[in-house]
Symmetry: C2
Subunit: 286 residues, 2 copies
Amino acid sequence: MASYFPDVTANRFPPQHPLQRNLGFIFDVDGVLCRGEDVIPRAPEAIERLRRGGKRVIFISNNSTKSRADYIAKFERMGIPVTPDDLVLSTYATAQYVAQERPGAKVYMVGAPGLAAELELAGLVLVEDPFQAEYVVVGSAFDGTGRIREDNAHRITGALRALYHAGAKFIATNPDRIFPAKDGVIPGTGAVIGALSYMLDREPDAVIGKPSKYIVEIALSRLGLSPGECAIVGDMDTDMLAGKRLGMTTVFVRSGAMTEEKLHSLGVKPDFAFDSVIDILAWEGG
Amino acid sequence: MASYFPDVTANRFPPQHPLQRNLGFIFDVDGVLCRGEDVIPRAPEAIERLRRGGKRVIFISNNSTKSRADYIAKFERMGIPVTPDDLVLSTYATAQYVAQERPGAKVYMVGAPGLAAELELAGLVLVEDPFQAEYVVVGSAFDGTGRIREDNAHRITGALRALYHAGAKFIATNPDRIFPAKDGVIPGTGAVIGALSYMLDREPDAVIGKPSKYIVEIALSRLGLSPGECAIVGDMDTDMLAGKRLGMTTVFVRSGAMTEEKLHSLGVKPDFAFDSVIDILAWEGG
């Protein structure tokens, strides 16, 4: 890990700008670097200058349907060079969480092919028989139009049976409720969590995505830095809450889905707030 | 209504057995008259003798997928003669509830053809465009194997949009969580309620089936009797709770899914408990 990221040892003495003290930066993606397919102006430049300045940079997203390989193409279109090691999606983070808890565990999955890919890359065994499952892992079961994926039509019942009959553990990629889409809102992973929780009168044993700390802990572990050495940059209360839970520096950007007023009304006060990611570089005087 | 059921005026003076005082009997179906396709021994005889003795009899069920027309065949197979007027299923009761609150309302439905049939029979207008909906009515979206019905694959999102964008009211046929089936449990209406409630952080505006009092109130209104003149006969805590909420006589039968010990452990004490419906007729000395 230490060889993959730049050597930041020289930066361990505090420079002048309090934000510049941070050796690592964890960036949320949607609303911070892009809005859908549109790149936030100068976001690629901001990442490049941070890296050139010796900072370690990593990207996190609650996305529960895509693998890191899927996200490489998205970052290429944005003009931000990345490898899979720079990406901590909730698919990957969930796979890591389960594999650390029980290596090679048998998993019954609700979700998209990107989730299946990451679970298998982590050495977990996907099972189709709910009665064989040690874990149930749930992501979004819906496509971009809001239809249940054809290959998920039986999977809410499968997950129910794995939890009810086989005593499987219940892990959710993220707690996201709804997303805007072309013809109206569409369900997030929360639809599946809600269905199973109501039927079984039981919450998930763990939720990996923000505002949970798990996804951020996995990003920190990849960076090889402690929470006090890193800032989290995001456009939502969930980003700030995950960072605060771990004692990180929190940086809100106004380029995303949530206004600063809304953030404050939720009782969340970030350490810094900027219009856009490029403004983080103010410490360079430009 | 008074002409449809027998004249019970002559019975308004209390006879000796306290249960016999009741002029009307509301029967749950599964676990009381039958177990799946098997008739409970002497259940048809019990119904016949009650009717012959001048009692008004009506049948209620939380079933959210069948119309009353569908249930006629089930009763014919059991050997209990009924007309649709003798049946208060949660499909029918929900349709009555909505039609009484807003006659001719535009309804977006999640559920089976039996629910659609009852909504239309009550003069409600089924809409396919969620943005047109005044009400969302939800029943079970799953088939007997636990797959989401093909014609419901887009309907959880449709219901979400009707509630989120169009401000529709949210009505559930029943709150049932899970049911036993051949290969393991299958989801009840609760899966849909849970998905929508989690996404919207909102409970249904009304739940019609037991243990709610609504379905029983509709049965009482069809009987033309007050709660104090009627007994409810069931095999579950939900039957007893609905009856107690309304001040009815409650009769538990041990022929169904719940043991009397389980019932008591839930803190529910019925007025009477029998092995089977035929034992209700003990007052006749037979």
